[in-house]
Each structure stands twice: as C-alpha cells, then as structure tokens.
C-alpha cells in the first residue's frame, strides 16, 4: 500500500494555514454526538482531552496511573522550545524548523516539522495563561536558556521541573473539563487491545486495574497518546510503567509501526550499580559545561581511586578525539565514545560501565561555591543516589536509554493508516526523525494535543455518522474474549520465573545488540535469541494471585509480553537500515579517514554516515500475522526546502 502523508500542497510556510482553511468543520450541535476515546493523559493526551472537550466533543480519557497528573511527562526537566524570539537573537519559525530537521538527521518530514515550529509560539501563550510558572527575568518577562543543537536561546523552563509544571497546567485544564462534564476520566485503567470495525478503529478493551474487570469502550475515533517504548530495554530514564502495549496492540490490529529502531541514548546518567537496579536517573547535560570526561589510560588503573591517578595517566577522550567540541560533543557521539572506552576495559565503577565527569579543574578555577551555585541541586541528587560526594571525587556517569523517536505511523492529520486511529506525542513517529533535539518532545506533545488534533480530527469525523458503532458489535465481544484468554494464560502458566527476570534478560540483550551501536551480526544474533526468550517466557512465567484485584505482576506480564515481540521488530528495522543516522548507529556505516567529507574537514572519522540515495525513507512495518515476518512499507521523504547535508558540528 502506498503511504500518503497527505501533506498539503503549496509553499511550506502556507501549508498549515491552508489546511486549516480547507478542513471541514463539525457544527457545534453535532460535536456533542461524537465520542472520542483518548488513551493517555500526558502532555499529548491531556492537552487533546481538555481541548476537544472545550470544543464540545464527548471525551473518554484513560491512563494507567492513579491520577492523570502522574503521566510520565511530569518527569521532564530541562525545558520546552518555542520560536518566540523574545531574546531578539535572530530566532524564527524557519530557524526552529531547520534546527529540528537537521537535528533529526534529515529523516523527518518537512511539512510536519514546519507546522511544529509554527505552533510552538501558541503553546507558550497557552501555558502562561493557565498559570505555568516559567522562569522570569527581573523585569517580569519570560527567561530563556540555550539547548543543544541551536545557536539561539529559545528554551522556556521552570527550574528543573518544566515537564511537571506543563503537565500540571494541562491536568488542571483536563480536570476543569471533568468538572464541566465533557471528559469522563478513567484512571488505573489499562488499554489491553483495540477494536476495529469495518476497517476503522472504533474502540478499545480495557482492564480496571483495581477490580480486574475487563470491558469495552466504543467511540467515533480512537486517539493514542501513550508515550514512548524506552522501557523495552528494562533500564531507562522512563517511569516504570511506560510501555508499548497500546501502540503494539494497535499495530497488531493493522496500524503500521515506523522507525522502531530510532532510540535516543542520553550520555549523562547515573550508571548502573548492581543487578537490583530498577531504573536510571538522568543528570542534566548542562554539567558538561564545566565537567571534564575521562577514563584511565590503562585498564589496570580502572579500579584505582580516581584522585590518585595523575593527569598523565588520564585519557580525556572527548577532548582528544573531538578537539573543537570536546566535552560538549553531541549526545550520540558522547554516548558512543563512552561505550567504546568501557568496551576496551577502561570503564570505572561497579561492572566497569562508567566514565568520570570531573569537576576538579572547575572547582580549582572557580571555587566550590561557584560550582554549587550552578549545579547544587544536581550534585545533591547525585549524592543522595550514590552516597558519594561529587565535590571531592569525580562523578561517574554512563549513557542510558531516554527517548524513542520511532512510533506508530501517522499522516499530516496525525491519523494512522488505520482510519479512525490517531496517534499523538511520543507514541507517534512524526517530527523528530532519527534524533530528537533537547526540549522538543514537550513542544511536540503539546502541539499535537492543543493545536493540531483539534483541527485535524474533524477531517476524519466529517465522514462519520456519530455513534454508529456501539460495544454491541460482535467485534468487541471477540476482542474482549481474546483479552480474557490472554490474562488467564499468564496466570495459568505457573512457572518459576518472575516477569522482571525475563524483562531484564530481554533488556540486556537489546541494550547489547540494538543499543548505542549496532551491527549486522549482533542484530542477527538478537533476532535468533529473542524468540528463545519469548518461548521460555510463555512456558516458565510465574504470575501469582488471580485477576480479580490489583495485581501488579499481571500488569507487568502483559507489558513484557508485548516488549518480547516488539524487541524483535526493533532489531529487524535496525537490520534493514544499512546506514547510520541520528540515534541509529550501524558500525559498518561510519566515516573514515578515506572519505572526502573527512578530508575536506566537513566531518570526522567515526561520525554517522547516512545513505540518502537508499534510505531517505521512514520505514512503516505492517504486522503480517503470528510467526510471519512483518512487511516493510516505505514513505519516501521529500525535501523541497532543505537539501540534506552531512550534519556537521564544527
């Protein structure tokens, strides 16, 4: 099937305005008759639910947490981008568009990215009006900071809690609509499957996590805003409950999954310290402004007290390899370099998977107080978690899984190839290409929820008769039955191993073979091993208790069962993509000294090497049935405005 992104014709800067002008409207009296199902109450889902309800639609919103306020968006720290140009430093919609497209290594759509940059300015207005307390200057106006991949200062922030404050604004708008009767909220309710009627997504099957009751909900359209799948790796900076289930279930019902291999690994996280560890904590990238990253030159020094290792025995490898960017090299480079030195046996700390981030020189130069002023809260967080004093000994850091650029395929209207299904926020694939720039995920989630879907949903609904499908349709009964059987199967296996033990095993394998660097042999090995792990999972899993009350092991079992299949899709996608781009680094495809781009100084050896002639497409995988390989569809990416070039950081 040819994938039509439905990008409006005309000049880039007119597309969105033209689309809004040309799109059908639903008259107010009719809106009330449409029921919209929204799964997810993070920035994307919460914003959509509040706004669609304000417009008059009947909204049912679901989340697995006990309150919509706890969606994972709450954890975002650094900030949100917007092309306001309040600093008068030359920012513009075009510049934000260009930075985002280039940051994504030319693997996203021009039309979508331009629209994102355009609506970014409305987001800030909306949030301030809701009472989001962004940082301000003494004159009372909004403050900005700079973020990676940009030469202007366009990031709005609320201390280190930007996500929290944005989500509270969104949550309050949502609760306002709950109070007004437009939104029915279903917390602690997990979507376990999607229902397709006559080729259209018309409902979901959910489990009440408190009573175990399985039930159906029908709607005129289904919106998934269920976040990213980083937890497939078990260890990540994501919240424990983040999962791929909603997206993957939709995939199995016909929705294409795009670019599953694009994952972002963040270079500065607190390293794994033992097998008991349940998650990884992000340390802001800003630390790299003053910290110097190093490992011992000799593997035998790796166990020594770092303060006893003289400078002559230290390898400041980023400064050595990338003299012009040094410790501020881009995320993917910094992450991969840390892996390399650890692979050589020079990593430090438990398990040898860590590198030092050392403030000794900065403290000597500026004094401890200056460093405390700049990074006090981060140093404290580090001390609480590790029990070490980062003013006295260098921090240990290591890259960790952070964000997933891949997601369900959607067109310009955020609609999947499966009619009626719309996908928002991190759960879709649309705007970040192969690499997301910092502070752009919050922007995208809110853009999708507040400003895009309220317009584009009508394009679909205009052709639908409201309330035409109810849960009486036989399709609902059939899917419900499948969900019941599946739940019962988990409980009936009564094997020996816990869900977590399988999840850890899968995660380690993926981290090793489909993590920071991938190669053909490793991916093929993973593709052989994942089915073996999965096989054992279905034979030897132990889920205690029954399905009739709160049962967290049962919840996890469902999510991990989907990760077991999804992990395979990731590896398949990574194997297909015989190039390196953004977060996807295939060891076979990197620049070497022999390349003209290196000789001319445009790039450096070891940088990701794209192959635009063959791979300037978004992959879109179609589920083909149990034990059948998925079918690859390609959406060719068209660049009318910007000519893809080698990403250069010099």
């Amino acid at each position: 099937m040819a994938l039509d992104a439905k990008i409006p014709s005309g000049p880039l800067q007119d597309k969105w305005a033209k689309h809004k002008r040309d799109s059908k409207l639903i008259n107010p009296a009719n809106k009330r008759k449409f029921t919209i199902i929204i799964v997810g109450s993070g920035l994307a889902g919460g914003a959509a639910a509040a706004t669609l309800s304000e417009l008059g639609y009947k909204v049912k919103c679901f989340c697995y947490q006990d309150s919509p306020r706890r969606a994972h968006s709450i954890a975002a720290q650094g900030g949100i981008n917007a092309a306001k140009n309040y600093q008068n430093d030359g920012d513009s919609v075009y510049r934000l568009f260009y930075d985002t497209l280039k940051g994504g290594d030319f693997r996203s759509r021009e039309g979508n990215v331009y629209r994102l940059a355009e609506v970014s300015v409305n987001i800030i207005d909306q949030c301030v009006a809701q009472g989001v307390p962004f940082a301000r200057e003494y004159g009372g106006l909004l403050a900005n900071r700079s973020f990676g991949g940009a030469q202007v200062s366009r990031t709005f922030y609320a201390r280190g809690q930007t996500g929290q404050q944005l989500l509270l604004g969104c949550y309050q708008a949502l609760e306002k609509e709950v109070h007004n009767g437009g939104v029915q909220m279903y917390p602690r309710t997990e979507m376990l499957d999607m229902v397709v009627v006559d080729g259209h997504a018309k409902g979901i099957v959910v489990r009440d996590m408190q009573t175990g009751e399985i039930s159906s909900h029908a709607g005129d359209a289904v919106l998934l805003a269920t976040g990213g799948y980083g937890n497939v790796f078990f260890l990540s900076t994501n919240a424990k409950g983040c999962n791929v289930t909603a997206a993957y279930r939709a995939h199995k019902r016909g929705a294409y999954f795009s670019n599953p291999c694009y994952t972002q690994i963040h270079p500065t996280c607190i390293p794994v310290s033992g097998d008991y560890q349940s998650k990884l904590t992000l340390m802001s990238e800003s630390l790299r402004n003053d910290g110097r990253i190093w490992v011992p030159k000799k593997a035998e020094d790796a166990k020594k007290n770092p303060n006893d290792i003289p400078d002559s025995d230290r390898d400041y490898y980023l400064e050595r390899k990338y003299p012009s960017f040094g410790n501020l090299s881009p995320r993917d480079i910094a992450s991969r370099s840390a892996k390399e030195v650890c692979d050589e046996g020079r990593g430090v700390g438990p398990g040898g998977r860590g590198v030092y981030l050392d403030f000794r020189d900065a403290i000597n130069r500026l004094g401890e107080d200056a460093i405390r002023n700049r990074y006090g809260n981060l140093f404290q967080m580090y001390a609480k978690i590790t029990g070490e004093n980062p003013y006295k000994a260098p921090m240990r850091i290591y890259p960790a899984v952070h964000y997933t650029m891949g997601g369900l395929w959607v067109d310009y209207n955020l609609m999947s190839n499966l009619p009626g299904l719309h996908v928002l926020g991190e759960a879709n694939f649309s705007d970040h290409g192969a690499n997301r720039l910092g502070a752009s995920a919050l922007m995208q989630g809110l853009a999708d929820g507040y400003f895009v879907i309220p317009v584009t949903l009508a394009v679909y609904l205009a052709g639908q008769k409201p309330g035409a499908v109810t849960t009486d349709a036989p399709e609902f009964k059939a899917v419900e039955e499948e969900v019941r059987t599946r739940t019962k199967t988990f409980l009936d296996i009564k094997g020996k191993r816990s869900v977590d033990s399988f999840h850890r095993e899968l995660g380690l394998l993926l981290w090793d073979k489909c993590g920071m660097a991938r190669n053909k042999a490793g991916l093929e090995e993973a593709l052989k091993k994942i089915p073996e792990i999965r096989e054992e999972f279905w034979q030897n899993l132990r889920v205690p208790g029954n399905g009739t009350n709160l049962n967290q092991e049962l919840e996890k079992a469902g999510r991990v069962a989907d990760f077991m299949e999804f992990g395979e899709l990731m590896c398949r996608d990574a194997l297909d993509r015989e190039e390196s781009c953004g977060g996807h680094f295939r060891e076979e495809h990197q620049f070497t000294e022999a390349d003209p781009e290196v000789k001319s100084g445009t790039t450096q050896p070891g940088e990701a090497k794209r192959h635009d002639d063959k791979f300037a497409y978004a992959s879109a995988w179609e589920y083909a049935g149990k034990d059948k390989p998925p079918v690859l569809h390609k959406e060719e990416l068209v660049f009318d405005t910007v000519k893809p070039s080698v990403r250069s950081y010099q």
Binding site: A47, T51, E54, Q65, D66, S67, P68, R70, H72, I74, A75, K84, I124, D125, Q126, V128, A129, Q130, G131, P133, F134, A135, R136, E137, G140, L142, R159, Q161, G163, Q164, Q165, L168, Q172, A173, E175, K176, Q210, A239, K240, S273, G274, Y276, Q277, S278, K384, I385, T386, G387, Y450, F451, P454, S498, D500, R542, P544, G545, N549, L550, Q552, E553
Partner: protein, 250 residues
C-alpha cells in the same frame, strides 16, 4: 544488610488487613527503598507467595505516585525526599522496619500498601485551575509578572500531590495540598479573577471528601517531600475567610 520488615497486608478494599513479618536478606545498601521491596518481592514470587503491592512510577521523586509510611513517617526518615528517593544506607543491618500505607479515611486502601487518592483529583476539578480555553490566550509576554511573585507561586506549584501531608496529619487534613494549589494560582495575576470561587469550591470539596480540618499541628510541613511551607495554609485561610464574607454579602 539483613532486615526484618513488618508490612501491612490487605487483600482488597473490604478485606481485613494485618501486619506481616517478612525477612529481607542480602540487601545492598546502594539500593533504594523500593528496590529493596523489589528484591523482597522477587524472593516471595520464587517461593510461590503473593508479592507486596505498592505504588510507584517515576522513581525519581516527581510523579507523586509512591507513598508508604515508614516507621510511622510518610516517605520515611530522610528529609525532603519521597520514598522512591530514600536509600537503604539510611538504615542499619538488623533493623526492623514498619511499612504501612498512607492512612486516611479519604484514602481507602486498594490492596496492601496501595491507596486510592482520587479525592485529590476531585478537589482540583472543583476549582484548582484557571479557566482559559485553548487558543484564546494573549501573548505570553503581554503580562509581565514580578519575579518575586512568580517565584513564590512556583514554590507552591512544586507540590507533587502525593498525600503525605494527609497521612502525617492527626486530623487527616489536606490543607497543605489545597493551600499549595491555591497559592500557586492565586499569587499570579492570571489567577485573580477566579480567586474567590476557587478557594470556596476547593475547600468545600475537601470537606465533602471526608478529610479533616487543620488545627495547626504542622506535621504536614515536616514530611512534605517538596518542603512546601505551611504559610500556604495561612494564606488559604485568609482567602477563604475573605471569600466567605463576600459570598455572604452578595
């Protein structure tokens, strides 16, 4: 380290609960409190038992999902942290640790250590927002806000809605939670137009949910993982009194 845990076990909302003694063996002191419970649960599962149910999600102190009253103190012995940020090095080998849910009439137990805090959502729904339709906002810099006010508003806005304040209060009063939301919004110029209806509606909803009232014990301030000051309660009381008077006159 080895520990003896006394854990509240309760099958469901209507079941009778009791404390159960569980031995926690070989716990690394680098582990967080919740990771300690993960290890304990892993063993329970291996041995064919029912693992302890407890709430958690972000595990970095921001989502407000984790709860637990540890040795009688919501979020345990460390200051300014949530349970998920508490580390085992705060305890000693051989310790006995009491682990209970956040208890309050308005927070019914769902199972074991998990409670239902949806009353908080209903308090926000009653008035904890600024009514602004999407798309109707003026330019963000059109309304300069004094940095001091913005900062104070922020301090209140850091509330994570965990409910520790309620669990710590002898009256199970949520005034720190309600006060924090009121201060967050009422200190901003955008929040002024709805100030009166906001505080009246939130306080009335709080009463309707079966929470108690504040009689100035200030236990809440001591356990708040975000160290929100009880000043927000005083401000809310003033605003409520004022709004009630105006309502009476009107």
């Amino acid at each position: 380290m080895n520990l003896t845990l006394k854990i509240w076990r309760q099958e469901g909302p209507d079941a009778k609960g009791q404390m159960q003694t569980v031995e926690a063996r070989d716990i690394p002191e680098e582990a967080s409190f919740l990771e300690m419970l993960d290890i304990v649960n892993e063993r329970i599962i291996e041995e064919g038992g029912d693992p302890v149910q407890f709430d958690h999600d972000c595990r970095e102190g921001i989502c407000g999902t984790c709860s637990l009253t540890i040795n009688g103190v919501p979020h345990g012995p460390d200051n300014g942290v949530t349970t998920c940020q508490l580390h085992m090095r705060k305890f000693r080998d051989g310790d006995t640790i009491w682990i209970e849910p956040f208890r309050a009439k308005a927070f019914p137990v769902v199972r074991d250590l998990v409670v239902d805090r949806s009353a908080f959502d209903r308090i926000i729904a009653a008035g904890g927002y600024i009514s602004v339709r999407t798309g109707s906002a003026p330019d963000a810099n059109g309304l300069p806000i004094e940095k001091d006010h913005a900062d104070q508003s922020f301090d209140a806005a850091t509330c994570i809605g965990c409910g520790a304040c309620v669990a710590a209060c002898p009256n199970a009063s949520p005034m720190l939670f309600v006060g924090a939301k009121a201060s967050h919004l009422n200190l901003l110029p955008q929040g002024k137009p709805e100030l009166d209806i906001r505080v009246l509606a939130m306080v009335r909803q709080m009463d309707a949910e079966g929470f108690g009232n504040c009689t100035n014990h200030y236990e809440c301030e001591g356990v708040c993982p975000k160290e929100i000051s009880a000043d927000v309660i005083a401000r809310l009381n003033r605003e409520y009194a004022c709004a009630s008077v105006k309502e009476g006159v009107a």
